[in-house]
């Protein structure tokens, strides 16, 4: 059913929407002022509810030029812990890297008191904040936004941030872009890139010569300050041609590598608004963005790729006035399908409708971007269906738990499952356990790959179901772990055996929205033990208890003693709060047997070393 909605190409419509709001033109206006009046700095302004901070495009990047080789891991350079959410990593992923010079630029600005004060003032007054900048200023704005988003997350602030950059160079690697998506921040970055501007594409070419770059920046900076000044530092035509060729050539290699390999050190982040004389379109798929950067530059020239960096004012004005006109379509041959005509409008907005050589691959880019955009919702819908199908397996495990908990051997489902024979019942449950694990692992995998909607882990349905699954089934995973002796091979479950999915579900549950207070006192035992790792703790405590009998070294003995004591207190608290299910307290459950053994041991005073009088006088389980 969702495929039908996809019969439209919407990147042009989105740009129409963005351009009809005051945000684009106000941002540019402030960038422009900042370029002329606050070089190497920034300015702030309040317009209605919205606070703006604009970084000047005139910035000096440390002692080195914006060379591509200069990437540093963000985690190591983040001494003040400004970007903590970006430090989290998936296994096997490259660390988040950013351009050293640009990071330094932001960090030094961030540490100034004037910046701190103005930011504070802005946050106090404004509900939403727009952070913007032209050229290098845009990359500083991006870092500033990442910092604010991290900060807002840490203090659970509801404030909203939007970053709008104009012709800014790339900031970091693919891991950065992925981390941003994972934090669901992708929608907070909108990068305006004109058709031919070489600046946003510059860092794709690692070998761009420093001297050329130096002159280029100088020319741009002077022109931003005042268009006439640009004359003072014109670049040689040969240098422009060389730069153009170099960047185009590198982009081509990267663009053709496509989705399989990320050959580039740098990677797009957020949405890109590509604009031309005819209009604009907005795309968010990174691979499509790189390809479009390449294809559009192909239609440019050494001259336009330099000049376009200074033309954002014209472009912004042009798209902001689009709403007044019908946007007449000159071509008579409008395709009959609604999707194809949407594509035709997009191509026309980029001014490449009749440029066959570029138009065709751009069409493919738009198609890919659209397909990738639709996937999350489709996937979520499919998952809901498969969840409904898998639910009966869970119900069977519930049923199993109930029948074990009531059976005559008084063991409870944990011990029943752990000590099960080859009966049909036990293996059926084991099979169900595997099926459920496969389902949830798949969910996690899709989430890691950003194949699910951005708010998936906040949807009550999924938070609750995963929690219920965890509480019911994790004890069986633990039972299986100890049943098969994995703890002797790999070490204890808690440290070495716990599946990643459970840790993720823990986090979802912790971060869920809790309505009012939920500290109701339980009147009866919980139906499922509220700590799904309870049995793993029991297993460890059992081992300690075994060790304590044979241990002679008083230091080690003390250590064991402490551990056992801590566990005992912990378990007692759970039981007192009725947060355990009845199976825990059954006569022959591992826990109950442990408690009995432990109290027996404690009642043998000769075992106690006088060094630990506390424990001698300690409470004894009744």
């Amino acid at each position: 059913m969702e495929t039908e909605t996809s019969s439209f190409e919407t990147s042009e419509m989105l740009s129409t929407f963005l351009a009809s709001t005051p945000l684009l033109s106000e941002s540019w206006r402030l960038c422009n002022i900042s370029n002329t009046s606050t070089p190497r700095g920034f300015l702030t302004e309040q317009i209605g509810d919205v606070g703006y901070i604009a970084f000047s495009g005139i910035q000096t990047v440390g002692n080195s030029e914006p060379s591509c080789r200069n990437l540093v891991p963000l985690m190591e350079s983040d001494g003040n812990a400004l970007f903590i959410p970006l430090h989290r990593l998936n296994e096997g992923e490259e660390p988040v890297m950013v351009h050293a010079g640009l990071l330094q630029l932001f960090l030094s600005m961030h540490s100034s008191t004037s910046f701190q004060n103005q930011m504070l003032a802005l946050m106090e007054k404004s509900k939403p904040i727009v952070i913007t900048g032209h050229s290098l200023g845009g990359t500083v704005a991006t870092l500033c936004t990442l910092w604010l988003l991290s900060y807002f997350q840490s203090v659970s602030s509801p404030l909203q941030v939007l970053c709008i950059t104009f012709g800014s160079p790339m900031l970091g690697n693919e891991s950065l872009s992925k981390a941003v998506l994972r934090e669901r921040w992708g929608g907070n970055f909108c990068n305006v890139v004109s058709k031919h501007d070489i600046m946003p594409r510059m860092l794709f070419a690692p070998e761009a010569s420093f001297t050329q770059l130096h002159f280029l920046l100088q020319y741009w900076h002077l022109s931003m300050n005042c268009p006439r000044f640009g004359m003072l530092a014109q670049l040689h035509d040969e240098d422009k041609a060389e730069l153009f060729r170099l960047v185009l050539c590198h982009l081509e290699v990267i663009a053709q590598a496509g989705e399989e390999v990320a050959k580039s050190l740098f990677w797009p982040l957020g949405s890109y608004l590509f604009c031309s004389e005819e209009g604009a379109i907005c795309v968010d798929n990174a691979v499509s963005v790189i390809k479009m950067m390449h294809l559009l530059l192909m239609t440019g020239s050494p001259y336009s790729c330099v000049e376009d960096h200074l033309k954002y004012g014209d472009y912004v004005e042009k798209v902001s006035l689009q709403y007044l006109n019908q946007g007449s379509f000159m071509q008579a041959d409008i395709p009959e399908s609604s999707y194809e005509s949407g594509v035709a409008i997009s191509l026309q907005s980029l001014g490449i409708y009749s440029q066959e050589k570029v138009a065709k691959p751009v069409k493919d880019c738009l198609k890919t971007a659209r397909r990738m955009g639709l996937r999350p919702n489709l996937n979520a819908a499919k998952l809901a269906v498969s969840l409904a199908k898998i639910n009966p397996y869970r119900a069977q495990i519930e049923w199993y738990k109930a029948s074990c908990d009531e059976s005559d051997d008084h063991m409870g489902y944990y011990d029943c499952f752990k000590l099960r024979d080859n009966s049909k019942k036990g293996s059926k449950v084991n099979l169900n356990r595997h099926k459920l694990a496969a389902f949830w692992n798949n969910v996690i995998k899709m989430l890691d790959n950003n194949e699910l909607p951005y708010d998936f882990n906040r949807r009550a349905k999924w938070v609750n179901t995963s929690q219920f699954y965890k509480l019911l089934v994790e004890p069986l995973d633990i039972a299986e772990y100890y049943r098969t002796g994995m703890h002797r091979v790999k070490g204890h479950y808690l440290k070495h055996g716990r599946e990643r999915r459970y840790e993720i579900f823990d986090r979802w549950w912790r971060e869920r929205k809790v309505s009012v207070d939920e500290n109701n006192k339980r009147s009866k035992l919980a139906s499922l033990t509220q700590d799904s790792c309870f049995w793993a703790r029991v297993e460890e405590a059992r081992e300690w208890l075994d060790n304590i009998r044979s241990e002679r070294d008083p230091r080690k003995l003390a250590f064991l003693w402490e551990n056992i004591d801590a566990f005992e207190k912990y378990a007692r608290k759970l039981v007192d709060n009725m947060e355990v299910s009845r199976d825990v307290l059954l006569k022959n459950s591992s826990y109950n047997l442990w408690v009995e053994e432990w109290s027996k041991l404690k009642s043998q005073p000769k075992k106690f070393s006088p060094q630990f009088p506390d424990y001698v006088n300690g409470e004894v389980i009744p």
Partner: protein, 614 residues
């Protein structure tokens, strides 16, 4: 006598329209004391009420960026979305105007009553904001008379150059109640008034009052020159209209870019949405008629776009003057009727230069061209059509699931439990036999299907009429009565009350809340009156509460109330007698109560209920 076809089966006499139009304008110029004028012609089958407009900023925007407020449900009980329980929003100033001057006006109410008793069709009409008052009067009439008395003649609302009045739920509710066809709005292509409320007051603060001054027929204008503010006013309104329309179009077309969500935190988008049938006058004696609210919103924004920028000042002037051109324009149009019904929106040519041989498509194309619709605009209309189609598709796919929703298994389960002497609530709660387990699996399956339906409802992904469909209301009621007790049993079996609090307040799934509200709305019962499916939850909670030291005493009122209700529900046959079986949770608890209490209880009188003393 010519008539204008405004829908599949709906035609309106053109004389009536013209008469209404002239009365609507006349209402303005009458002395300002009159809050409405009434036109009765001896022997005619209708009466016309027409309402004047108002011309100060506060008559349009009363607080809030867009001047909207929650609707008054006492006057307009149907203007909400039922399942999701969201109230419609309406322009506060218009609502206030209607409440103060019309609904509390005894003369008005008497005249309406009289016309109704004479079985005459009542026509409500208004020009400009007068149209909004006419709209509210019509809905008020529909709620008060039409809903309860099917013999009443259906009303008609005709507006001319009327601003938008309500939000998307307003529009949704009117379509659900099948009232939308009674509203016909005439809009001239360049008239700016219908678009004004798409802009927040902050964006037109400086220009609005002078413009209103100019528009006000009562004001003594120094000259007929367009005020200098016109051009600014016009561009600001258009820009905001474009924001609303392009945002809506992105949604219609299924754009998934996250920037779209972020942006809505930065700019305020107008909540207003069209409803009813719109008749656009192209300006060259043609009429384009459509009733899809999403398509109308797009048309409002696109039809006023220019062919090229240079026209701007001229158009600003034309737009203001067009607001008073309805009488003449309609006269011209009706002289030689040329109306195109865009109802189905099928066969929409995407290009103005479409070279088709089909005459239908050529007619439509000419009409779209007359409204100045570019390919972009036409795509938006297609998207509106696709959305409507998708909603119908969703409906069809859940209709197919009706077979799965047949609760045969659970009905049999209930019967077999009953035969074994224990109600199915208690049997399920004990979960002893495989049948109980199977019933639980069935319960989960059904919950999956219903949750999916509810999700669609929440996203407004089903046709507006869905919540008014008898078959689904009945199915929902049957489901709720049969299956909710199992959910309650499961809830208390797993002691979820300890974690989340009582079932009814904290644990009740939306699928039951929704279906209960469907029934209550359909039968016009007070909210919360159909709680029979929650009977067991009430029992469980009282059982827990009366277990304390104080016993029954502090909760006596509640217990009495529950018993009264139970008795009524059993008599009405909405609650089955198996709740009274010998060993049911309810009876066991009841029997434990003091003898004196039991003798006075109303429960003991229920037929088939035996008190065997303990």
């Amino acid at each position: 006598m010519a008539s204008l076809k405004v829908g599949e089966n709906k035609e309106i006499n053109t004389n009536l329209i013209q008469k209404a139009c002239s009365l609507a304008v006349k209402a303005h110029s009458k002395s300002s004391q009159k809050s409405y004028i009434l036109e009765k012609t001896r022997g005619s089958s209708y009466v016309i009420f027409s309402f004047p407009g108002y011309w100060s900023e506060n008559d349009w925007y009363d607080g809030e960026p867009f001047g909207e407020t929650k609707i008054n449900l006492d006057l307009f009980p149907s203007l909400k979305s039922i399942g999701v329980d969201e109230h419609a929003k309406v322009n506060k100033a218009f609502l206030q105007r209607f409440v103060d001057k019309i609904s509390r006006n005894r003369d008005f109410r008497n005249e309406v009553e009289k016309a109704k008793n004479e079985k005459k069709q009542i026509v409500f009409t208004g020009h400009s904001t007068g149209g909004s008052v006419a709209t509210l009067a019509t809905i008020w009439f529909l709620e008060k008379y039409w809903r309860s008395d099917a013999s009443t003649a259906s009303p008609l609302c005709l507006t001319f150059g009327c601003p938008l009045t309500g939000n998307h739920i307003f529009s949704h509710a009117l379509r659900r109640e099948k009232w939308a066809p009674y509203f016909i709005h005439f809009v001239m292509r360049y008239d700016i008034v219908p678009q004004i409320l798409l802009a927040p007051i902050s964006s037109i603060k400086h220009e609005f009052q002078p413009i209103l001054q100019f528009l006000n027929p009562k004001s003594t204008r120094a000259s007929t020159n367009t005020p200098s503010e016109a051009s600014n006013f016009y561009t600001n309104v258009m820009k905001n209209a474009s924001s609303v329309a392009s945002h809506a179009a992105c949604k219609l077309m299924g754009n998934t870019n996250l920037v779209l969500e972020t942006m809505t935190n930065f700019i305020a988008l107008s909540p207003y949405k069209p409803f009813g049938t719109f008749v656009f006058c192209t300006g060259n004696r043609k009429l384009v008629i459509l009733s899809n609210p999403d398509a109308i919103l797009q048309l409002l924004s696109y039809s006023s776009q220019l062919d090229n920028e240079a026209e701007c000042p001229d158009v600003a002037q034309r737009r203001l003057q067009q607001h008073f051109g309805y009488g003449n324009e309609l006269k011209d149009c009706f002289n030689k009727l040329d109306a195109v019904l865009l109802e189905s929106l099928e066969k929409l040519p995407l290009s103005a230069d479409s070279t088709t041989t089909s005459s239908d498509i050529t007619t439509i194309n000419v009409a779209l061209k007359d409204l100045g619709l570019s390919t972009r605009a036409r795509l938006c209309l297609c998207a509106a059509r696709e959305l409507e189609k998708r909603k119908i598709g969703n409906k069809n796919s859940i209709d197919l699931k009706k077979a799965d929703i047949l609760m045969k298994y659970l009905e049999d389960y209930k019967l077999s439990c009953w035969r074994e002497g224990l109600g199915y609530y208690d049997a399920f709660k004990i979960q002893k036999s495989t049948e109980d387990f199977e019933a639980n699996v069935k319960r989960l399956e059904l919950a999956g299907i219903w949750d999916e339906i509810i999700e669609m409802l929440k996203r407004y992904d089903l046709p507006d009429a869905f919540e008014g469909e008898k078959e689904w209301i009945d199915l929902g009621t049957k489901y709720r009565r049969l299956v909710e007790p199992l959910d309650i049993a499961n809830f208390y079996r797993h002691l979820k009350n300890d974690v989340s609090g009582p079932y009814t307040e904290r644990g009740r799934p939306t699928r039951y809340r929704c279906t209960q509200r469907w029934l209550e709305h359909a039968q016009r019962l007070p909210a919360g009156s159909c709680g029979e499916s929650c009977f067991w939850a009430d029992v469980e909670e009282l059982r827990i509460k009366t277990n304390s030291k104080e016993g029954l005493a502090p909760f006596k009122d509640k217990v009495l109330q529950l018993e009264e209700q139970a008795k009524k529900w059993i008599n009405d046959k909405v609650l089955d007698k198996d709740v009274l079986s010998e060993d049911s949770t309810f009876v066991v608890w009841w029997k434990k109560q003091p003898e004196s209490y039991k003798l006075a209880s109303c429960i003991k009188d229920i037929e088939g209920f035996k008190i065997t003393s303990v």
